[in-house]
Symmetry: C2
Subunit: 215 residues, 2 copies
């Protein structure tokens, strides 16, 4: 069966984004430092339409981010900095005209909005009736492919608490953020469900993959 | 100048001990799993008076735990499970007649007790007037050697908040504990003071060393 999975870069002290997300700091203050390992990879350069980038272990990990993924779910703050009612339809995501998803993306929000079709096959759907509905719609869109949680921490925590996550891939970097969005807060005993199935490291990051027991 | 330092094994989700520390679970429930990488090393076997154990990267890391250390400070829960007033002098630590410290150990407690000399050069001194006094006494005892914080999380946090720590060495293992004693809680912006100076990994653990900036 198709999996629900996610992958995130995390500071040594457990943060996946810095504090005070804003237009200037989409990943929160200091959050860019979590992704240095990925920025250097060929996969990331290709996503940006650039040549170059390194192959090897980090690139293999980066390339997993959309492998076998047929649809995404994400929290509203992952989609943008707008809070409350949508003032208009002008916010179209952080990623420019052609977001890197190339697939349907189901955005969790309390505020309805028409679907937003972007270039390259990404369509943002706005889901107002909760995480299970978003997952159901994403699964239907993904067919026999996986669904990936695009972030952020709060959305991942909700799916973890609901015991719906099958696989998670963490990229731990030697950064101490000290503040921001912590991934593994408020998930109760949901982490008891997982086994580590891969643990490899480059000089830039430790990469760990966990899978639901018996999954 | 001699350093104040510590090293701790930590789960991927940030715990350095499991919950419900007790006689049966000195490291808290599940806490033993944090130390598997160290148990396999020659250094640990030697500490236990046994032959064998592996050399290599993990052993190099394990061997650092008492290198250049002239004295230790530790929290009372690191010394034992007794809470409140000492009922008598029968509790002599978790480590049997010959603790592995072979140096003066200054135990933070609210309850006075006479020093306790053990075999092999370890003497436990009980300090009731706070972390700075304990450090001062430990520094005096250590001479030109370093002082190491033996644990646990709460004691490390107190020294971090007081900006007294010069070096920390973390051993991150691919374990998710989900509960217990978290190392990097309640330390405010004290982590801003540190740079990562080493990041190496074995199949069993990622080892990261941080040093105070400009230190």
């Amino acid at each position: 069966m198709a999996k629900l999975k996610f992958q995130m870069s995390m500071s040594l002290d457990g943060y996946v984004a810095g504090p005070n997300q804003s237009l200037e700091h989409p990943l929160g203050e200091g959050g860019m430092a979590l992704h240095g390992w990925a920025f250097a990879t060929r996969t990331f350069c290709e996503m940006q339409g650039r040549d170059g980038g390194e192959t090897g272990l980090d690139d293999d990990q980066a390339a997993a981010w959309n492998r076998d993924v047929g649809a995404f779910v994400m929290g509203r703050n992952m989609f943008g900095p707008v809070r409350g009612e949508w003032p208009d339809d002008s916010w179209r995501g952080w990623w420019g005209d052609e977001p890197p998803y190339h697939a349907p993306v189901f955005v969790l929000t309390h505020h309805a909005r028409e679907p937003l079709a972007m270039e390259g096959g990404t369509t943002f759907h706005f889901v107002t009736d909760g995480i299970e509905s978003a997952l159901e719609q994403a699964r239907a869109a993904a067919g026999d492919r996986d669904v990936s949680i695009g972030g952020g921490a709060s959305t991942v925590q909700q799916y973890l608490r609901a015991r719906l996550v099958d696989e998670m891939r963490l990229h731990v970097v030697p950064v101490l953020l000290g503040r921001g969005e912590r991934l593994f807060d408020g998930v109760g005993d949901a982490l008891d469900d997982f086994d580590c199935v891969e643990f490899v490291s480059s000089p830039a990051a430790a990469h760990l993959t966990y899978r639901r027991k018996g999954g």
